[in-house]
């Protein structure tokens, strides 16, 4: 069909073009893409229908617990745990990254040791370790090593509550990964930038903070967005030390009523909602730290489907880029 019409149409367009400059552009039609899209959508509707009708899922139970108080409490814990662990991980990770790039072999060695240890052991082991640290040291003391002199001491169990243990485990583990991301970011910045800053009398710390890190952010943010999404889901692991996150509370409920599947659906729904919400600050940050960068706009999914020419989105991005 299309083959038959195309040859007759094409020459006429060309001849018309020479007479008349203001012509509508006909973009390439992606018939294959349309066919694949329709097939996939039909399959998805079928799957959704079969899930909706499946009695083993107990949608009534899902509905009962989706907005239950205990679930909300867990949700709040999961959220602050994610935020605090990421903050700790990013802050400590930046320090470790700077240490790894330092000229001092001691700082380099210490930071490498940290990354080696925390990346080399399973997170689950680290969580359990922090949860049961009281078995290793019953007291936390600050004093002079190898002497009996102690300035302050605490009872480990009082300080290292499950929540604190969870935060430490997740935050320290994250720091090891974040440090590699930050290091790659710092190394991606042209050394001429630091040189220019130094020649203006800026000291190394100020240069790092004002000149290098803001530029490194463009490289750092996308993988850190992934890390945050991973972190949100990895908080589920702290249920092994009963830290009262979303997953801990879900387990607590199904341990009593044995409705395992519906409660896991409830958990999945909330994790999906949280992960979706996370993409909003990530997009904002990417725009903020992309300032001044050469334009590199990626097409939206809708644009890719329709072909990019002449859509309102294409026009808008061009205007923004020219700002």
């Amino acid at each position: 069909m299309t083959d038959a019409t195309a040859p007759t149409r094409t020459p006429s367009v060309i001849t018309k073009k020479t007479e008349d400059e203001a012509l509508d552009v006909v973009p390439v039609r992606h018939y294959g893409r349309w066919a694949a899209a329709v097939t996939a959508v039909v399959a998805l509707i079928g799957l959704a229908g079969s899930l909706a009708k499946n009695d083993n899922l107990h949608w009534d139970v899902v509905g009962d617990y989706l907005f239950a108080g205990l679930i909300f409490d867990g949700l709040v814990t999961t959220l602050w745990l994610t935020a605090a662990a990421m903050a700790l991980g990013l802050a400590l990770g930046t320090v470790i990254a700077v240490m790894r790039l330092s000229a001092s072999p001691v700082l380099y060695g210490l930071s490498s040791l940290f990354v080696w240890a925390f990346r080399g052991t399973p997170l689950l082991v680290q969580i359990i370790f922090w949860g049961y640290a009281a078995a290793l040291y019953s007291q936390i003391k600050i004093g002079i090593p190898f002497t009996e002199v102690t300035f302050v001491s605490w009872d480990t169990n009082a300080v290292l509550t499950p929540a604190v243990a969870a935060l430490l485990a997740l935050g320290l583990n994250e720091a090891a990964y974040a440090s590699e991301i930050v290091r790659a970011g710092i190394q991606s910045v042209d050394p001429g930038q630091a040189e220019a800053a130094h020649s203006l009398g800026m000291r190394p710390a100020l240069t790092m903070r004002r000149i290098v890190l803001p530029q490194a952010m463009r490289v750092i943010i996308p993988p850190m967005g992934n890390e945050t999404i991973n972190m949100l889901k990895m908080t589920a692991l702290v249920s092994v030390i009963a830290a009262h996150d979303l997953m801990s509370n879900i387990q607590e409920v199904y341990a009593q009523n044995y409705q395992v599947i519906p409660l896991l659906v409830v958990a999945s729904c909330w994790y999906l909602v949280l992960v979706s919400l996370l993409s909003i600050p990530q997009a904002w940050l990417e725009r903020r730290y992309g300032r001044g960068a050469a334009r590199s706009q990626s097409n939206s999914a809708v644009q890719r489907l329709f072909g990019s020419a002449g859509t309102p989105w294409a026009r808008r991005t061009k205007k923004e880029a020219g700002r």
Binding site: H198, L200, R203, I211
Partner: protein, 254 residues
């Protein structure tokens, strides 16, 4: 007693086994313009970077305004400078790079304001007024809000000159400031530098612009393989060189 602004005696610098500077002798008086010429790899950039301590000198003495670069004299001994003191000394020396090195995440105005505000502690309002004045001086008053990516190479280099001037340096170093520019943009940058020289700024300029050197420089210095081959009045060095190496280089550049 008036000290020369830059005084180099037998300055040496090596990278591993490669000796890049092999005893540089050079004097730049206050208010003078010194143009450095020489083939690529002869050590011009390295010498310039030594002057503001971006590189450490391995031998000889290098003084800027009477102070030994990288050291402080105290009680008959030389003390190596710490990070804070090195930064303080660099405030007085402006540097302009071949590849501009503007901060891409800041507007032209913020590029110029950054050091006065963060290093010299000038108030934001005062720094912005001064930056606007400097941008006007380099002919870019209407580009203050633009990011570097939105400026042409020549405009970026002029912002970079304004940025260096914002710290009110007593010495300006230029490392091939026009080599990365399209030919039609070179003139604007050289004009700015010409005016700066006329205002009495002390300048050390690495350049291949023979015309500029002949017109503006008080001394022209020809370097090759880490040594000064010939130095003197530009008319003499650039038109009637006594050394064969200088003659060979000039015949290639002109």
């Amino acid at each position: 007693m008036s000290q020369p602004m830059v005084q180099a005696r037998g300055v040496r610098k090596r990278y591993g086994s490669l000796e890049v500077l092999r005893g540089i002798d050079l004097t730049v008086e206050r208010g003078q313009v010194c143009c450095l010429l020489g083939p690529s790899g002869s050590g011009k950039s390295t010498f310039l970077r030594c002057i503001n301590h971006l590189e450490r000198v391995d031998g000889g003495t290098l003084k800027v305004d009477g102070d030994l670069v990288g050291y402080r004299r105290h009680a008959g001994k030389l003390h190596e400078l710490g990070e804070r003191e090195v930064a303080e000394r660099r405030r007085d020396i402006g540097m302009v790079f071949q590849r501009f090195n503007l901060f891409p995440h800041m507007t032209a105005l913020d590029n110029v304001c950054e050091a006065p505000v963060k290093v010299a502690g000038v108030s934001k309002a005062e720094a912005e007024a001064e930056a606007q004045r400097l941008l006007e001086q380099v002919g870019l008053a209407d580009r203050a809000g633009h990011f570097p990516a939105q400026l042409s190479g020549g405009q970026q280099q002029r912002v970079a000159i304004a940025r260096a001037l914002a710290m009110k340096p007593k010495l300006m170093l230029f490392d091939e400031p026009t080599s990365a520019l399209d030919p039609e943009l070179v003139g604007d940058v050289l004009d700015v530098m010409r005016r700066l020289a006329a205002d009495g700024m002390t300048m050390v300029v690495v350049t291949h612009e023979i015309g500029f050197a002949r017109e503006v420089a008080d001394t022209a210095v020809f370097m090759d393989e880490g040594v000064v081959v010939e130095a003197g009045a530009p008319r003499q060095v650039l038109t009637e060189p006594t050394q064969e190496r200088t003659r060979a280089f000039l015949s290639k550049v002109l």
